[in-house]
Symmetry: C2
Subunit: 203 residues, 2 copies
């Protein structure tokens, strides 16, 4: 019997969104359970590592966004065809993680002088990664790696809305190939119909 | 023909060490290229994302420690037997990454008041993860997941020397099952002979 999935996450794109895109892409049987901030203190206690997203697969729960995404990608045919293709996807995904970490380290820094110090070269640090991503798309026929759609593209595109909201600008301006990639992923029919009905939050 | 590997990394355990353990475990044909701090500014320019470790596989270079480790694990038989076992390994590996990040965020914080604020509950944050790891080993027959040796165990054990040096204490004190796991991994014959001849740095 086909497995039943339940995604537990905040009412945000961010780290839950690659999972939602993959579940949608594969037309899997899934439920999109969203929590607001008021529910979080109680919910946190039930989560295996006090974090979300968490994916329930037939009643068993699994944490860690990248781990879950790689697993789902395998189920829906968005992994590589061999170990080397998978290595290239994983390298791209960890490069996004480095990119996200630069943004998050600045955005969530609670100490004002520390946050201000990170803000000085935040744009330069982001552009370092964005240039790499743009080059990768140029060399891979319009995709990030392997010359075809993989979960690497989905892991890049899905959380962009959230990270753009954090930095309060469209950091893809000036990166036409990355903008094309976003359109390509978001217009994939099953993903487009998920996006059309997703809750209209601001991030 | 069997591939030739060259690992480029600092003369440290840290993020290079899981790769060295895996190359040793599989008795692969590999070269251990170590850089000192004086060589780094020039070397950095040659690295694909300005970072190490980088693995050269038959003349092509690949970055990102976790991506490389997963790839090598597959080559040497330390992956899971199916997608679900691989998911469980990946969850553990990302949990170590969260643990490492807590330590690194504190250790490398250049702003004194920010570093001091992180130090207040650093031990509590570390113990949160260490308790989870200890529980995992209890539930998985002496290994972190799947009841057998996987690259997850190697990814946990190999860089410990470095993280212990950063926090200047043996944070495995009070976690007997984790200490047992370290002994088990480090006494695996091919890994033990690598350790016996590795450069005797302090971390």
């Amino acid at each position: 019997m086909a497995p039943k999935y339940k995604l537990h996450y905040f009412d945000l794109t961010a780290l839950g969104e690659p999972i939602r895109f993959l579940l949608s892409y594969g037309k899997l049987d899934w439920e999109d359970i969203r929590y607001d901030d008021a529910q979080w203190p109680e919910t946190k206690k039930k989560m295996p590592f006090g974090q979300m997203p968490v994916l329930d697969i037939d009643g068993k729960i699994y944490a860690q966004s990248i781990a879950i995404s790689r697993y789902l990608a395998k189920q829906v045919g968005l992994s590589g065809k061999d170990d080397l293709e998978n290595l290239k996807i994983d390298i791209a995904v960890h490069l996004f993680l480095d990119f996200h970490t630069k943004i998050g380290d600045w955005a969530y820094d609670p100490i004002p002088n520390s946050k201000a110090a990170k803000e000085v070269d935040l744009k330069d640090k982001m552009d370092f990664y964005l240039k790499k991503f743009e080059e990768m798309v140029k060399e891979n026929k319009g995709f990030l790696v392997n010359g075809k759609l993989t979960w690497g593209d989905i892991y890049f595109v899905a959380p962009l809305k959230y990270f753009k909201a954090l930095v309060k600008r469209d950091f893809l301006e000036g990166y036409p190939l990355l903008q094309e990639l976003v359109k390509k992923v978001e217009s994939t029919p099953a993903i487009a119909s998920y996006i059309a009905k997703r809750p209209a939050g601001d991030r």
